[in-house]
């Protein structure tokens, strides 16, 4: 906990699992282990970080074990413990568990979980399992009669504990592996999707730019790609499955920009879901943009969309050559009429203002129920 066991283990050259087991065992003797632990913690005996842990030779480790057993026996001989059964049970269980699950010297459980871990010595495994079974047996023999627990019930409980101790770490490890694998798979799918998207969009555009020698076209391509990539990255995408008018307007602008090689600047204030009514607005706005891009000869077209006070307003503005409203060629009159008709059918209004040399502005208004 406070690093005492780890520090002591390093100092003694044995693995910390065994040191912990020793503390646990001693704790059954009137809490002696706990007292020693805190005593050492207060004296900061855990601060031996600089010492490179040097594994004790087998005979040294054996000596330590014998010394510890002697200490326990001494305590027992003087009758200084509450119950030999308790001490023996806990001791056997603690050391058995340590032998089987120790981190530094991989026990059989570690080998079960991770095939790269080399198989532990058979002796160790036998001793560990023996200690566990012995501890459980002593526990059963002593505790069972005292509390009058049915032998079957006790056996079931002990088997459960045994299984838990033996396979608990393995199960958690398995679960962790599974979730790691799932995360990894999701990541790979995301990467594949991103690669596919970049291939269809950015790489294609870069290829087109390399083959183009018209600066205006290159700039349009780059612009188009930039705004498309930005939408993809920052998610100007449908919100909660609802398609938004702003998104649709941006997409339309981008398409027209690419088709007609005129930059279209889109500014949006507020938003509204895309539905039957607003689709009419979108269609009319698209026609207005195409019109401006094709006929105005302006360097750029502006689209301003505002949703405010229960009304949607779209302005499509250009600073191009404009025209005399009363003096319009038939084909353009058709477009104008279709813009107007579209919006009016959906309950809105359209106005087109233009003057020769002063550019053109199409204003589309559509009332919507607020909320």
């Amino acid at each position: 906990m406070a690093g005492v066991a780890g520090g002591l283990a390093d100092a003694l050259g044995v693995s910390d699992g065994f040191v912990r087991a020793a503390f646990v065992t001693l704790s059954t003797v009137w809490g002696l282990g706990v007292l020693i632990y805190f005593g050492m913690w207060l004296m900061e005996l855990d601060r031996v970080e600089d010492v490179e842990p040097e594994p004790a030779a087998p005979h040294q480790a054996l000596g330590l074990g014998v010394a510890f057993a002697g200490l326990l026996l001494l305590l027992g001989a003087f009758g200084w413990w509450p119950s030999s059964a308790l001490v023996l049970t806990v001791g056997a269980l603690a050391f058995g568990t340590a032998a089987l699950t120790d981190r530094n010297m991989p026990g059989p459980l570690a080998a079960l979980v991770d095939p790269t871990v080399e198989r532990p010595g058979r002796l160790r495994m036998l001793v560990g399992i023996g200690l566990l079974i012995g501890g459980l047996a002593v526990f059963a023999a002593n505790v069972g009669p005292i509390y009058e627990i049915g032998p079957v019930l006790l056996a079931v409980a002990l088997t459960g504990i045994g299984i838990l101790v033996a396979f608990g770490p393995w199960v958690t490890r398995l679960a962790r592996d599974l979730s790691t694998e799932r995360r990894e798979r999701i990541r790979q799918e995301e990467r594949a999707e991103m690669a596919a998207h970049l291939h269809d969009s950015v790489l294609q555009t870069l290829a087109l730019i390399q083959r183009s020698d018209d600066p205006a076209r290159m700039s349009i391509l780059a612009r188009h790609q930039e705004s498309e990539l930005r939408d993809w990255l920052y998610g100007n995408a449908p919100l909660d499955g609802v398609d938004l008018l702003s998104t649709a307007l941006r997409e339309a602008a981008r398409r027209i920009e690419a088709d007609h090689q005129v930059p279209i600047e889109v500014v949006v204030v507020g938003d509204h879901p895309l539905n039957e009514t607003t689709r009419a607005l979108l269609g009319a706005a698209s026609e207005a943009m195409v019109n401006a891009a094709k006929h105005s000869a302006a360097g750029r077209v502006s689209l301003y969309f505002e949703a405010e006070n229960g009304e949607l307003v779209v302005y499509v503005t250009d600073q191009g050559k404009g025209f005399e409203p009363g003096d319009v060629a038939d084909d353009r009159r058709g477009i104008r009429e279709s813009i107007k008709a579209r919006v009016e059918r959906a309950g809105g209004a359209a106005a087109i203002e233009s003057e020769p040399g002063e550019g053109t502005e199409v204003v589309l208004r559509m009332p919507v129920s607020a909320g």
């Binding site: 920052y234 919100l239 600047e265 500014v267 949703a307």
Partner: protein, 211 residues
């Protein structure tokens, strides 16, 4: 004497491009592609106008604006970015930048913007006008200074026209006011943007208003 301009952008190519576009009319006193160099050199050179990119490593344009404002308050900043992120742009303005234009701006318009910034005016691109209208939209219970928390009808008219792509001159003609008055309105909006406590300004951009 020509206006002294300093450029800050972490994209060297863009830096070179802007330098080429502006060097005929203005005296480009220096440029930097990182925040620390920029702050140090701007303090030393004391240029009239700094063009600064919004998105850069180590704190971005805001760090430059704030770092310089402490020691050299006379330097004026124009934010320049490809960013569509409203909160970043608004944050730059609130830090003290006097305008924001997108990097797709025409060279002639950029030169015009630099002259305006030097003259003490604010420079609003259509996109910034849209951001500001969005930020101030909706009824808002104003706690301490209602005047700062709302735009006047006239200010909104000006911003809408800018958002529709009109230049200041055209805005003035459409509203039957002088260019000077347009500039006054825009400066007033800038002031409100910098001083208002409307706490939702910082957060509004994260949620889109659906009317």
């Amino acid at each position: 004497m020509s206006i002294k301009v300093y450029l800050v952008d972490d994209h060297r190519l863009f830096l070179a491009g802007v330098r080429a576009e502006l060097s005929e009319e203005f005296s480009i006193v220096g440029s930097a592609h990182d925040v620390d160099t920029a702050i140090e050199e701007i303090r030393g050179f004391a240029p009239d106008v700094v063009l600064v990119d919004v998105h850069m490593p180590d704190g971005g344009g805001i760090a430059v604006v704030e770092g310089v404002a402490e020691t050299t308050p006379d330097v004026k900043f124009l934010a320049l970015s490809v960013s569509d992120q409203a909160e970043d742009v608004i944050a730059m303005i609130r830090a003290g930048a006097r305008g924001y234009v997108t990097k797709t701006i025409e060279p002639a318009d950029l030169a015009d913007a630099v002259r305006r910034i030097d003259a003490g005016d604010a420079v609003f691109s259509p996109r910034l006008a849209g951001f500001v209208l969005d930020a101030f939209a909706g009824a808002m219970p104003s706690d301490d200074d209602p005047e700062l928390d709302q735009l006047t009808t006239r200010e909104k008219d000006v911003l809408r026209l800018i958002a529709r792509g009109f230049a200041y001159k055209q805005v003035a003609r459409k509203l039957n006011i002088s260019i000077k008055t347009v500039e006054t309105h825009v400066s007033s909006v800038l002031r409100k943007l910098q001083l208002t406590n409307r706490h939702e300004l910082a957060r509004w951009a994260s949620k889109r208003r659906i009317v």
